[in-house]
């Protein structure tokens, strides 16, 4: 197999594995729109990275984290309804990113690859980001799993029982931001949320505990990556969207199976 295909497979599998449990939280806490907003802001991160000549992966992580913090603080102050706020932030950040990139006539930026991902162009360095970042996220998740779960079930109850709710809320946002930043390479800004929520939604059909749903979501995401890459190799379709189509197919198939709660 060609080197670039091996790297694509490794990168895709790494991202899918970590997107599983985070995707489950995105589904449970109805954060899909929040994820979308962060993803859209990733493009702004690229522009900032080019402008200040810093590592693009790092710039995207920083941009997502800053936006997540901004969102949390604005949400707390209840300036406007959350979905309106997210809508404003998502499209402003995306447009700002597009406008900013247009200011660099000398730098050729492959917009398509950022918007829809370029799985086949994953470099050795990208793999380090995916596995390094993924490992950190996974460790934090394991360490704080019960807190995150208690917080998701009922905030007041969690607080009375001694869970540091504000910290956990922030932590979850930061984890999602990190995963989005590292997943961008695979499926691109516009499709990241799908990699988070579709496998998780599929996993719901066959899971009776939160842990099983998270693990199944990882597994289904990894299967989608394999299927998507295979299709891409076979029929020369774009890799990122092929992965998403595979995930959506699995979701549809799961709905043909009898429901098992």
């Amino acid at each position: 197999m060609a080197d670039f295909l091996v790297r694509a497979l490794l990168g895709g599998l790494g991202v899918a594995a970590i997107a599983g449990p985070l995707g489950a939280f995105v589904v449970w806490r109805r954060m899909a729109y929040f994820g979308d907003t962060l993803a859209h802001s990733a493009l702004l991160g690229i522009a900032i990275g080019i402008l200040f000549d810093i590592n693009l992966n790092l710039a995207v992580v920083i941009c997502c984290v800053v936006l997540a913090l901004l969102l949390v603080s604005m949400q707390r102050r209840r300036i406007i309804a959350t979905d309106t706020l997210l809508g404003i932030m998502a499209h402003s950040a995306l447009s700002l990113g597009l406008v900013a990139i247009s200011f660099f006539p000398n730098v050729r930026v492959d917009l398509m690859s950022y918007l829809f991902g370029d799985l086949l162009a994953i470099s050795r360095e990208d793999l380090w980001w995916i596995y390094g970042g993924g490992l950190v996220v996974m460790l934090v998740l394991i360490k704080t799993w019960d807190w995150l779960l208690a917080f998701t079930i009922n905030e007041d109850l969690a607080r009375v029982e001694g869970v540091p709710v504000n910290f956990v809320h922030l932590l979850l946002m930061l984890l999602v931001a990190t995963v989005i930043a590292i997943a961008m390479k695979i499926v691109g800004v516009l499709l990241i949320t799908s990699l988070l929520i579709i496998p998780a939604a599929t996993a719901r059909r066959v899971s009776n505990t939160p842990e099983r749903m998270a693990a199944t979501a990882s597994l289904l995401g990894m299967v989608s990556v394999c299927l998507g890459l295979l299709a891409s190799y076979q029929w020369d379709t774009p890799a990122g969207p092929s992965v998403v189509v595979a995930a959506a197919l699995l979701f549809s198939i799961s709905h043909l199976l009898p429901n098992r709660q």
């Binding site: 449970w28 019960d146 079930i153 007041d156 109850l157 009375v160 719901r204 009776n208 939160p210």
Partner: protein, 256 residues
């Protein structure tokens, strides 16, 4: 036995949206005592519970807990997203450091042991309240805080739940602070009643509160008549209320 109160609230005040929700509220919760908070809708009952639990900060006033106070809390309603697969067992396990045997014992205590493997979302109102009650027991609380524990439960179920709460108090020797709409149902199983309408209108022994003019003013004569009827049943036949009580049913039953 330690005689300092579990919690004492001193001159609490809170404004929300320019409304003076809580006005100069002071009281204490003593060990092993059942306190019931009653009041009309919008009188600040739930807000007071939030203050008591430290979920909301007062504008002024102080709340002091006895050191290392363990509180078991049962929220008014537990909405769990249908997308979150959660069995009763997993929900119980989430309470810090509980073993299988303890979980089973707590569930059996509130008579829902058979629900261990059921998804939380499929429980009825009463079952869900009992599971939450069992879960709060896992923390071996010194104080149980129950926000409208019988909400969404039919009347027979309500009486059962209140009896259960009394039994739990006796068995676990914990204090209980609960919010209720209906004094007539809780009267038998409560030691102290606090009647709230932003400020404390009256408080004390349930009999005393039900005869208090400010209580009558708040709940109207009809509400008090119900109470009188209830306490009458549980007192000696020749009560001072006797005349009123005997009269009323006769008016309704001309044929009798």
């Amino acid at each position: 036995m330690n005689t300092t109160p579990l919690i004492s609230l001193d001159k609490l005040n809170l404004h929300l949206n320019n409304r003076h929700i809580i006005q100069d509220v002071s009281f204490t919760i003593e060990e092993n005592q059942i306190t019931t908070l009653i009041g009309p809708n919008g009188s600040g009952k739930s807000t007071l519970v939030r203050l008591l639990l430290g979920l909301q900060r007062p504008d002024s006033g102080t709340i002091s807990n006895r050191s290392d106070l363990r509180i078991g809390y049962m929220p008014q309603k537990l909405h769990i997203e249908p997308t979150l697969p959660l069995t009763v067992e997993r929900f119980m396990k989430l309470a810090a450091g509980s073993r299988r045997s303890e979980i089973e014992e707590a569930l059996a205590q509130v008579r829902v042991g058979h629900l261990l493997k059921n998804p939380m979302q499929q429980l009825s109102g009463g079952e869900s309240q009992r599971v939450m009650l069992a879960r709060s027991l896992l923390r071996k609380p010194q104080l149980l805080v129950l926000d409208e524990p019988v909400q969404g439960v039919d009347v027979t179920g309500q009486i059962e739940l209140y009896e259960l709460i009394s039994r739990i108090r006796d068995k676990y020797r914990c204090a209980v602070f609960m919010v209720s709409h209906d004094l007539h149902l809780v009267m038998a199983s409560t030691d102290k009643v606090i009647c709230l309408n932003h400020h404390i209108c009256c408080s004390g022994h349930p009999e005393k509160v039900s005869n208090d003019p400010s209580f009558t003013a708040l709940f109207g004569a009809k509400g008090t008549a119900n109470l009188a009827l209830y306490s009458h049943k549980h007192n000696h036949q020749h009560d001072t209320h006797g005349d009123v009580i005997v009269d009323q049913p006769c008016k309704d039953h001309d044929h009798g």
